[in-house]
């Protein structure tokens, strides 16, 4: 299993290559044998995306963990896929740079996994998700061939294949070498904690901040259930237990005067929007404590029960209050504990359902409630995943947001990279729901058929 406790599979074999050359050799052997394989990083995924079933080989990439180089002048780093996100950040810091995407699992998750999932994180509101930070990739395709896509500047050699590859959940191949964009560390940071007596007013405060044109580095929300879970844990951050919700707002930048001025504007707005109090972290230690509570919230909620499902959906920001109320109603209906901790600035919800997976009745309730939450988000104009991916878990929802033609197009693109569908099979696209694209199969090697007419030749 990965970070999602509802799916468990056992592969035939697990291989942990220690070098790129070993990895290439293994993939070429598997190609010759026609065996499917599943690339896997640290296994922190939350959609069952890196699970390998019987008949498949699990390729664990955590030993490919070298930071090949950090280029201060060009503001980039070249890394192997098994490099841990936080370790890259730490390595870039002495050069005054950062790797901005910061998923909550950053102390364990790998850059290769981040690329596969197009991972986000709290600071993606200002700095963008993984796709905004990947410049170039060396990709190992299913047939064992290596392809270089992208360039150190981010300008592509033709179509944006890097953009297509990032977020493909391991279905297009393995990123064996990853060139990432590094950004200058902010020189000034202000972190605010605002508490509200109602979820709705907290949601309205989010909209008010965004409407000013100020883009906070992060704008996170936690509801009372989550607050109490954090405060009951070793990660207690001093969040007010009687608050219906807290907002964690961070303003950062390279210009201290601007950060101070924007923080003043945001503080006033929070108060005008009904915040009972607005607390500013006075020291770096206090800031870290506030963030630790947020980043370790999933771990804290894990203490509430034997198992925890971390859901992931996105809705338009303006409907956050209504959708949160709907989620609360669904939880009540099923008699479940649902805690919310999420990226409010992006409208990226994470309803977390605490339960005991050994109880089949409860497990069914969790599945049903999860489906209703997804349907509510879709009905509100949203989508089924903002950063955790489709994997196995969300495939059933794909036909709710894409028609058969569009799903068929995705499957056809996958076949361009992997004609035999041997890399991470059975994920992302529900094949039964696709309209067939007969032209696509087997065309990757380009050995069949002439170039399309009109293409200059």
């Amino acid at each position: 299993m990965d970070g999602l406790p509802t799916h468990r599979l056992i592969p035939d074999l697990v291989v942990l290559p220690g070098t790129r050359e070993e990895l290439v050799a293994v993939v070429r052997l598997l190609a010759a044998l026609g065996v499917s394989f599943v690339p896997r990083g640290a296994g922190t995924g939350l959609s069952g995306g890196a699970l390998a079933a019987e008949g498949s080989v699990l390729l664990v990439l955590t030993r490919l963990n070298r930071i090949v180089r950090i280029d201060r002048d060009s503001r980039l780093a070249v890394v192997e896929p098994g490099v841990v996100n936080a370790k890259l950040g730490a390595a870039a810091r002495p050069a005054g740079l950062q790797y901005a995407p910061d998923p909550s699992s950053q102390s364990a998750c790998t850059i290769g996994g981040n690329v596969a999932e197009n991972a986000g994180g709290p600071h993606c509101l200002k700095y963008g998700v993984t796709a905004n930070h990947i410049l170039a990739l060396e990709v190992l395709l299913a047939d064992g061939s290596l392809v270089e896509i992208g360039s150190p500047s981010g300008e592509s050699w033709g179509p944006d294949l890097v953009g297509v590859f990032v977020g493909s959940e391991g279905n297009f191949g393995i990123a064996t070498r990853i060139t990432v964009r590094l950004t200058p560390l902010p020189r000034a940071v202000r972190t605010l904690l605002a508490d509200f007596t109602g979820l709705r007013t907290a949601g309205e405060a989010v909209s008010a901040i965004i409407a000013t044109g100020i883009v906070p580095a992060a704008l996170e929300m936690m509801d009372q259930s989550c607050i109490n879970a954090v405060e009951d844990s070793v990660y207690a951050a001093g969040y007010p237990r009687d608050a219906a919700a807290v907002l964690l707002v961070e303003i950062d930048g390279r210009n201290s005067d601007a950060v101070v001025a924007e923080t003043d504007v945001v503080t006033d707005l929070l108060r005008q929007s009904g915040a009972r109090s607005v607390r500013s972290a006075a020291t770096e230690a206090e800031r870290e404590r506030l963030w630790q509570g947020r980043k370790k919230a999933f771990g804290a909620m894990g203490r509430l029960s034997r198992d925890l499902v971390v859901q992931d959906a996105v809705v338009p920001r303006s409907v956050l209050p209504q959708v949160l109320e709907t989620i609360a109603a669904i939880a009540t209906h099923y008699g479940l504990v649902v805690s919310n901790v999420f990226h409010a600035g992006d409208g990226n919800l994470h309803p977390n359902i605490s339960f005991d997976a050994t109880d089949p009745v409860l497990k069914n309730k969790v599945e049903a409630a999860s489906a209703e939450i997804m349907q509510a988000c879709i009905a509100a104009g949203g989508t089924i995943t903002g950063e955790h991916g489709v994997g196995i878990d969300k495939m059933r929802y794909m036909p709710l947001i894409f028609d058969a033609e569009s799903l068929g197009a995705m499957q056809a693109v996958r076949r361009v990279f992997d004609p035999d569908e041997r890399v991470n099979p059975g994920k992302v696209v529900p094949v039964h729901a696709c309209r067939e694209w007969t032209h696509a199969r087997g065309d990757r090697v380009g050995s069949r058929g002439a170039a399309p007419r009109g293409e200059a030749a």
Partner: protein
């Protein structure tokens, strides 16, 4: 029946426009479904179709049986200022879109080269970012999703209308900068920003190397310009090179950056432009790239910007150049020939710098291609994607050239 008669029967007389100088029939479907119907028929009939927007950017000269223009796809189905999203059809002119967004307090933070009426679809399909790329990223960063029609008439949706979305593979990024090789974009979901409450432009004239240093000093000082553009004298219509700095955002941010600008300029004196002067300056810069016959962009790492400018000057002349040194993006426009461009592309490839041909007369772009100098293994992937989305080769696009 002639092609024109068949198209008229299919879409009605209203969809048929006056042909251009090359007398290729020009058809303007009035809806995405009509685009799908037309391309499905073209695929079956074996017609070759060239894609056009308003006809203000890429030359309308590709050999084809039919020109499909998106100019009647000019609706804006949704603007959501509170969510900072909008949905617009591909044929809407950027000037119209900008105005309607501004009326709702929203801003699409792109300023692509070309005339003001250039279509949204043209900008997205060619991924032509302008100076605002410095502060707000490339075109693809402003897209939440697209709907496109393949060369055989299939309608495909990608992405959605929300700020983050990893549901399914990202076909939006395939379309952004695909030059229509993978289908015709008909609908675009956009990420917006709040209309900046403060927006000022400063310019500084000087020698190129001095201005490059000033640009580096501005970055080192921690200023966060929306645009930081180095413009050649001919393009800026000034005596010397110009460094233009645009500050846009909250009043607090802009005021703080304005205060830091003087200190960062190494004793040089930036001149503020009045609002109308700033508008004219940026518009002239954008329009300059649609005047001369050939325009291309190259992308190198920021540290190589000076070297790349020297290379362009040496191989092609530097009359009309605009560069975002910190973003590593350089755009050149002028007149050149096939041999020179191909030689330049080869030289740049050796430096790991892609050259994307943005516009040129058909004989040149047909030979040179929008893209080229692929790394090993990339060509077959691109060809496979081409066959997937245009199995009959109906869409006339000079992807790689000869």
């Amino acid at each position: 029946m002639t092609i024109l008669e068949k198209v008229t029967a299919l879409l009605g007389e209203g969809a048929v426009l006056e042909a251009g100088t090359d007398r290729v029939p020009r058809v303007a479907p009035g809806s995405p479904d009509a685009v799908a119907l037309l391309l499905g028929t073209a695929h079956q009939e074996g017609w070759r179709v060239r894609i056009e927007g308003a006809g203000t950017w890429l030359q309308s000269d590709a050999p084809a049986d039919l020109a499909l223009t998106t100019r009647r796809l000019d609706r804006i189905p949704a603007i959501e200022p509170s969510d900072l999203t909008a949905t617009a059809e591909a044929g809407i002119g950027l000037d119209q879109l900008r105005q309607q967004l501004a009326d709702r307090g929203a801003w699409l933070a792109i300023d692509p080269p070309g005339l003001a009426g250039r279509t949204l679809g043209s900008v997205v399909s060619t991924a032509t970012a302008g100076p605002l790329r410095h502060g707000f990223g490339p075109i693809k960063d402003h897209l939440l999703g697209v709907t496109f029609v393949t060369g055989d008439g299939r309608m495909v949706q990608s992405g959605g209308r929300v700020m983050k979305n990893v549901a399914g593979y990202d076909l939006t990024r395939l379309q952004a900068g695909g030059f229509g090789a993978f289908g015709v974009i008909v609908l675009v979901h956009l990420r917006l920003r709040t209309l900046p409450r403060a927006d000022v432009t400063y310019v500084l004239e000087g020698a190129r190397e001095d201005l490059t240093q000033v640009g580096e000093d501005i970055a080192a000082a921690g200023l966060t310009p929306a645009a930081l553009e180095l413009v050649s004298p001919a393009l800026a219509r000034r005596e010397r090179w110009v460094l233009a700095v645009r500050l846009a955002g909250s009043p607090a941010l802009v005021a703080a950056d304005e205060a830091g600008l003087g200190a960062a300029s190494g004793g040089g004196r930036f001149s503020p432009l009045r609002a109308e002067e700033a508008h004219a300056f940026w518009m002239r810069l954008a329009e300059g790239f649609s005047v001369r016959p050939v325009t291309f962009r190259i992308g190198g790492v920021p540290a190589a910007s000076d070297e790349l400018l020297d290379l362009l000057q040496h191989q092609l002349g530097d009359e009309w150049i605009s560069a975002s040194p910190a973003a590593g993006a350089i755009r050149w426009t002028g007149d050149t020939n096939i041999d020179r461009l191909q030689r330049l592309r080869r030289t740049l490839a050796g430096l790991e710098v892609p050259l994307t041909l943005e516009r040129a007369p058909w004989p040149l772009r047909g030979a040179v291609g929008h893209f080229g100098a692929y790394r090993e293994g990339v060509g077959p992937l691109v060809a496979g994607l081409r066959r997937t989305f245009d199995p009959g080769g109906a869409l006339v696009v000079a992807t790689e050239g000869s």
